[in-house]
Symmetry: C2
Subunit: 491 residues, 2 copies
């Protein structure tokens, strides 16, 4: 495929200068229009022409209003403390902006591919992850444009020679090109494979020949203009109504109904077991710290199901510095400018630490679904997105535990009333809680479907019978202990 980017395309200076004013005016107009639009533009700049990438970056800043361009250089962000995609998520542009990504999610994949040509399956897996990541962003509205700036081998060699005795040179980029040149033939096969495998219908690669800077600049600029204009035009049109899906749930979804809510613990038993598991957890967490084993616990459940009480009992077994509790409420204005998963990435624990999410990313298929904050197609595809997100956490080695705290409708009513009567518990009960309660059946259907579709082998749900607080607390603590012990391979 590189053949088509090695034919020596050029643009004469006169033509270049004739086309430039209109292009610049267009790009600026589109940028202004984009500011009001509800999607981000993600421009991936990659290639073997490293010097060209730097120059393209500069020229885009010159042509457009740099206040609304965000450049992210992701090359040397590899801390090992976080899953690979953490840095990519953290550096996405918000809606209404153009983000230029330099050293993107392709860099590592290609590097590893060149280094380990025998690991074809690993390369396929990495490409599948890339495709899913981009699809996720595109379905959320993003416009992704990917440019591969290419120089043929002889041109690269020529450039090396021409810069050899020149002091004023983009030396970081030249260092890269030297490496690229050394591995040129070996790399070419892998790169071709990756570009082919990740040229999806929604985000195809655009190969740009880099030998002539004028041709290169205009290609990138005009392509960006045309794609952005088309996208803005399409965004102005009313969206297709998503296909209807049958509302009725099949019998097999009714998992919650199978729980035995009569399960109970007496107070003396509770106190003994609570102490026993807190002690065990404390010892295990000390080991986890030594071995840098991170954990993520998330709690979902009915209002008043006892999340806070359980979280406090777990916290009591830990050192204050080892854990963080992240309460998840409605997204802020800033968070709304990103994909809904964006805000969760930033709270992942470093090695040895514990992050406890009090409500979580499952809000997408619970409250956002039931209250209509997410469209049907949005929450429908979220199941796969959430599974993929969790897979990345567990692949990175994080222990992930998901708890659904289940109480019945009568128990909830009793607890609401009790909260209303206790002065320092009144803040926990609002009109919204009573409103939510009226939608119990809809929530129940959503929970059943969630458990069914996201109880994966790597991250199954633990359903907790929580009508009895004692029983629920001990069950969660024991589960955390058992899973952590298994992960650490201690008894």
């Amino acid at each position: 495929m590189f053949r088509f980017a090695e034919i020596g395309r050029q643009i004469a200076k006169k033509d270049y200068e004739a086309r430039l004013p209109e292009l610049r005016a267009n790009l600026l107009d589109l940028q202004q229009e984009l500011r009001q639009a509800n999607f981000p533009v993600i421009l991936v700049l990659s290639g073997d022409d490293r010097v060209g990438i730097g120059e393209t970056l500069s020229i885009l800043h010159e042509w457009m209003d740099p206040r609304y361009l965000i450049t992210s250089v992701l090359e040397d962000i590899e801390d090992g403390e976080n899953p690979e995609y953490w840095a990519f998520w953290r550096n996405l542009p918000p809606k209404g902006r153009i983000g230029i990504i330099f050293g993107s999610w392709y860099r590592q994949t290609i590097r590893r591919g060149v280094k380990n040509p025998e690991q074809a399956a690993a390369l396929d897996q990495a490409m599948a992850r890339i495709n899913f990541f981009e699809k996720e962003l595109i379905e959320d509205g993003a416009l992704i444009l990917k440019f591969w700036l290419h120089l043929k081998k002889s041109e690269l060699e020529k450039r090396m020679a021409s810069y050899a005795n020149q002091e004023h040179a983009p030396w970081l980029s030249l260092q890269d090109e030297r490496k690229i040149l050394r591995l040129y033939d070996k790399g070419r096969t892998v790169i071709e494979r990756v570009l082919r495998g990740t040229s999806t219908r929604e985000a195809p690669w655009r190969l740009v020949e880099g030998a002539d800077p004028r041709y290169r600049n205009l290609s990138v600029g005009e392509f960006l203009r045309d794609e952005l204009a088309a996208r803005l035009k399409a965004a102005a049109a009313p969206p297709e109504p998503p296909a209807p899906r049958p509302q009725k749930l099949r019998e097999k979804y009714m998992i919650l109904g199978t729980l035995d809510l009569a399960k109970r613990l007496t107070r003396p038993k509770y106190e003994r077991q609570l102490h026993e598991y807190q002690t065990r957890l404390n010892v295990l967490l000390r080991k986890a710290m030594e071995r840098r084993q991170a954990s993520v616990l998330l709690f979902e459940g009915w209002d008043a199901a006892g999340k806070g009480g359980i979280i406090r009992r777990i916290a009591a077994a830990m050192d204050a510095r080892q854990y963080r509790v992240i309460p998840i409420a409605a997204p802020t204005e800033e968070e709304k400018k990103y994909h809904y998963l964006w805000r969760f990435w930033k709270h992942l624990p470093r090695g040895g630490r514990v992050t406890i999410f009090d409500r979580s990313w499952y809000g997408r298929v619970l409250v956002e679904r039931v209250e209509g904050f997410a469209r049907r197609d949005e929450w429908d595809r979220a199941y796969r997105e959430l599974n993929d997100f969790e897979e990345q956490l567990t692949e990175h080695g994080i222990l992930l535990l998901k708890f659904w705290l289940h109480i019945d409708k009568d128990e909830q009513h009793r607890r609401f009333r009790e909260r209303e009567k206790t002065p320092y518990k009144q803040y926990k009960i609002t009109d919204e809680d009573w409103r939510n309660r009226k939608k119990w059946d809809e929530y129940e259907a959503a929970v059943n479907e969630m458990v069914e579709r996201t109880s994966t082998e790597i991250a199954p749900w633990t359903l907790v019978e929580a009508n009895d607080k004692y029983y629920a607390r001990v069950k969660v603590l024991r589960k955390f202990c058992d899973e952590l012990a298994e992960k650490l391979k201690v008894k």
Copy 2:
């Protein structure tokens, strides 16, 4: 002073339980009220009673609504890549929230003091910095509450013994206490000095005896309640009008008038010198990368003074990965929830890199002053705050260069007209620019005062005669080269 926290205060269980319900209800109410208020609460938890700190943290989470509490553990954030206070700024709570800071700006100061008892001046300096930092936040509205949880030596020893054979223990904290115990007598002198030196009128230390957990919990909780209630009440009252200050500027402020705007470069000279300095800069930046020398350049100037053109010429001498341009516009909704300096801290360059601010923190004493976005007392004290901020950058070793691009009123008019005529420059000229132009005299007074009051020895302003773009570009480039060369001690 510790004597008063070693007298064995206790609270009986009965009393504790009697006072608790009201305290919890109060705290929750105040937390709700705080959400609408225009200030943050910063609660510093320090002390030799490490186990007590952890327990206090837990109990505060139990008593209050954890969704509006933000705990920051700053102990192990010492990356060396950023000035010391970078982490403190990044972890401040926003307005309307309570932030509990654990391992605060006191930790390092005390540690170094204990380690190097002979460096009394360094300790004094560190305390002065702390006091200024807290004052800055307080003047911006923050309520700072500082608790020192204290255990006398014999109590610490007793605790060590009691935990010795117990598995369920806050082991991270105990490790700390072991260290504290070892250095107890040596540390006591330093700690006393630090607590005395940083007990300011606005943010005094509150010593809390830790031997009895009930006494400790109630002390912290009730003190927090009382101070927060008082502050909310005061915030509801109309603020004192700030004292008037004479508007007229003294003659000596009129620095801008002394610039010779007739300075010019011919095109051939410009092109030769531009190339010369870009080449030199490129070489110097390569050295800067090797030696991890970071630079911050900031540009202020009249609208249409040519900031963008200069920045592009500097950028052309660098590798795209070495620098970032940060355009500073009006703060976002999120940024408005913090002290105005907060948003600048996050963009500081790592070692070897360059950050270019296109407009900067000086907006506080320019646009915010002239347009009335900041009150007189706010922008008046900003001069010192800005000087202090810059001192921290330069102390950390960052090369800081500040440029004011100066054109006269006629030249601006000419450039505005030209922008209106060139299609791809029209976006640069808005009604706001014409409006600002009408306030030329007020801006000029503000600029003169800014230059006068913030041209410190460590970070002087470079005034650039910019009626001629060629001259201005070369002057800036040459300045950057010269200063960087001096910093790197190369010619």
